[in-house]
């Protein structure tokens, strides 16, 4: 099959310490911004209507209840106005200029040899098979609308761990899916959740049986290739009592001059005593609107952690939330956002304490540069009866120049007296005095500003698996090019 020739070797170049910094745009184009020729089995025309939704359901041979679910969600989507809060950029989204479904392969392969050659080449260039060999317990790779590769380690399968793409999940585990699907995020939750519910395709279905600890992360990688693409994956993770799972997702896309749309729905259910950690390294190209709904339920003694890193996209609006529904449940949101030229990262998180003695932390960090805008938007709610709840919210913003912008929109609602809530917010500029201090010790200006930024984000990156922490630091270093004027 035809494909564009790779411009770089599979192993991406790692700059040495003395190499200095390069511009992010050049690097993104080389590493992630390339695209393949389109050899698709099916590509829906632009725009959304009942026929497209029915076609998606028909392609997937879905049960009737899912077809009805989609059509009802489509009505919700069409009847709801575009939200007016958040970012003014939201009004730029043109729902008629998007391809809602693109099929690249017949079914997910269990071996990379089953994946169409050009698609496999793309994932090779992104380093996915290599990462799988080195440190992952399972991998799902989604290309356009559907998952093209899926594999989980045999020993986990033997312990009853289910890690499949969502389409396979519905086909092979319909009873479980039907029981939990859309119970955390109903289709009418918001306009974008309704859109996802109507046209969802791909994503992951994870089920971890009681007491099973999945020690190595499961990873999903989402890739958009075509122009004006809409990707709408749907992920559902259920951790039975006392189990543990760490799910990691990453994403990239080619850089085009017109817009693409990514709108996922992610639902997590941590049953009593279970722990789910969900890590995202979002690195869409800067023509992608990233409008995602992520929400978790933590039952008694359960823990849910969202580690949410937003580097790419034109606009991201995403506020992962945890509903602490059982006594002593714990929620943790670590959010980091980097807003560069032309970007708005409207990120944050929500924690709802709905039971006694529940605890939570929200740590949010944003860095804005070259006129980028970073916003923290968060909700902390303590319901009546959630006595003994404890929470700490810290949001810090770092501005790297005069033209960049940072906003903080925290909401705190407390309906119980016997609680302990702390909230801190700071906005700082990389100060002349910090730079001067480091430079007076012989550290060049570029290095000094990198050190300051790395120190700023370190509380988050230390929570990432090592390989991602290294990658994250590297991406941020690249974005720091010429940041101090």
């Amino acid at each position: 099959m035809a494909t564009t020739e790779p411009k770089i070797p599979v192993e991406p170049p790692v700059p040495s310490e003395n190499e200095g910094l390069r511009g992010i745009n050049a690097d993104y184009a080389e590493r992630f911004g390339f695209h393949d020729a389109e050899n698709y089995l099916y590509k829906a025309p632009k725009g959304l209507n009942r026929e497209i939704v029915e076609k998606i359901s028909e392609f997937k041979s879905e049960p009737e209840w899912m077809r009805e679910f989609r059509l009802k969600a489509l009505e919700h989507f069409l009847s709801r106005p575009q939200p007016t809060w958040g970012s003014p950029m939201l009004q730029e989204v043109d729902y008629d200029d998007i391809h809602y479904f693109v099929r690249a392969s017949e079914k997910p392969g269990r071996s990379w040899d089953d994946v169409p050659a050009d698609v496999k080449k793309t994932f090779d260039r992104l380093g996915i098979p290599e990462a799988e060999r080195k440190f992952l317990a399972g991998v799902g790779a989604q290309y356009e609308s559907e998952v093209v590769y899926h594999q989980v380690r045999e020993d986990l399968e033997q312990q009853g761990v289910i890690f499949v793409d969502m389409d396979t999940g519905l086909r092979e585990h319909e009873d479980i899916v039907r029981k939990y699907f859309a119970t955390v995020i109903p289709p009418n939750d918001n306009k974008l959740a309704a859109l996802n519910s109507a046209v969802w395709s791909g994503g992951s279905f994870v089920y971890v049986p009681e007491g099973v600890h999945v020690e190595m992360p499961l990873q999903a990688y989402f890739r958009i290739n075509t122009e004006n693409m809409g990707q709408f994956e749907r992920t559902l993770i259920i951790a039975e009592p006392g189990s543990y799972v760490h799910y990691v997702e990453g994403c990239t896309a080619p850089t085009y001059s017109s817009n693409s749309l990514h709108s996922a729905v992610v639902e997590l259910i941590a049953q009593p005593g279970a722990r789910i950690r969900y890590t995202t390294v979002q690195n869409w190209s800067t023509n992608v609107f990233n409008l995602v709904t992520k929400r978790a339920i933590a039952q008694e003694d359960a823990t849910v952690e969202w580690v949410d890193c937003n580097l790419g996209s034109r606009l991201t609006m995403k506020y992962p939330s945890v509903y602490l529904m059982g006594e002593r449940a714990h929620g943790e949101i670590l959010s980091i956002a980097f807003a560069g030229k032309g970007q708005h990262q409207d990120a944050g998180g929500k924690i709802i304490h709905a039971a006694p003695n529940t605890t939570s932390n929200i740590f949010a960090k944003s860095i804005s540069k070259d006129g980028g805008r970073g916003s923290y938007r968060g909700l902390l709610e303590i319901a009546k009866g959630a006595h003994g709840a404890r929470s700490k919210v810290v949001c810090d913003a770092l501005l790297l120049d005069e033209e960049s912008r940072s906003d903080t929109y925290p909401t705190i609602r407390i309906s119980e007296d016997d609680v302990n809530v702390g909230h801190e917010a700071t906005v700082s500029k990389v100060g002349e005095d910090q730079l001067f201090y480091l430079m007076s010790h012989g550290i060049p200006e570029d290095e000094a500003s990198k050190l300051i930024v790395n120190g700023f984000i370190e509380p988050i990156t230390k929570e990432l698996p090592m390989e991602y922490a290294v990658e994250m630091n590297r991406l941020i270093e690249l974005q720091m090019e010429g940041s101090i004027g």
Binding site: V184, I185, P186, N188, N190, R295, Y323
Partner: protein, 105 residues
């Protein structure tokens, strides 16, 4: 002491039908699920918007909040899906003299 209010004659609320009633500052939805009558507060506990005029599934005896999609069990007032997580009030239904009545307070 709870007060008893009249809703309507039994014949006027057939299976699959619902009716809204007001009492003081309370708004209540009365539902007929397969011949059994239930009454819940017409207020979604998520954001205090109206609830009872949402999609009514007689078979499951649920109503869906028209604003953000939380599904409520009409028999208990409990939300079955987020974003609502607090139950809404329910009211005892009495049938006397072929008339549907509610106990409110």
């Amino acid at each position: 002491m709870p007060e008893v209010i009249e809703v309507c004659p039994v014949a006027e609320l057939q299976p699959g039908e619902r009716r809204l009633v007001e009492w003081e500052d309370l708004e209540i939805g009365v539902f007929n699920c397969g011949g059994t009558l239930y009454a819940i507060e017409d207020r979604c506990s998520h954001d205090n918007g109206p609830l009872a005029e949402g999609e009514f599934d007689e078979e499951q005896c649920t109503v869906e909040c028209p604003r953000h999609g939380s599904l409520f069990d009409i028999t208990t007032g409990r939300p079955l899906t987020l974003p609502a997580y607090v139950p809404v009030d329910t009211f005892p239904v009495i049938i006397e003299d072929e008339t549907i009545k509610l106990e409110v307070e």
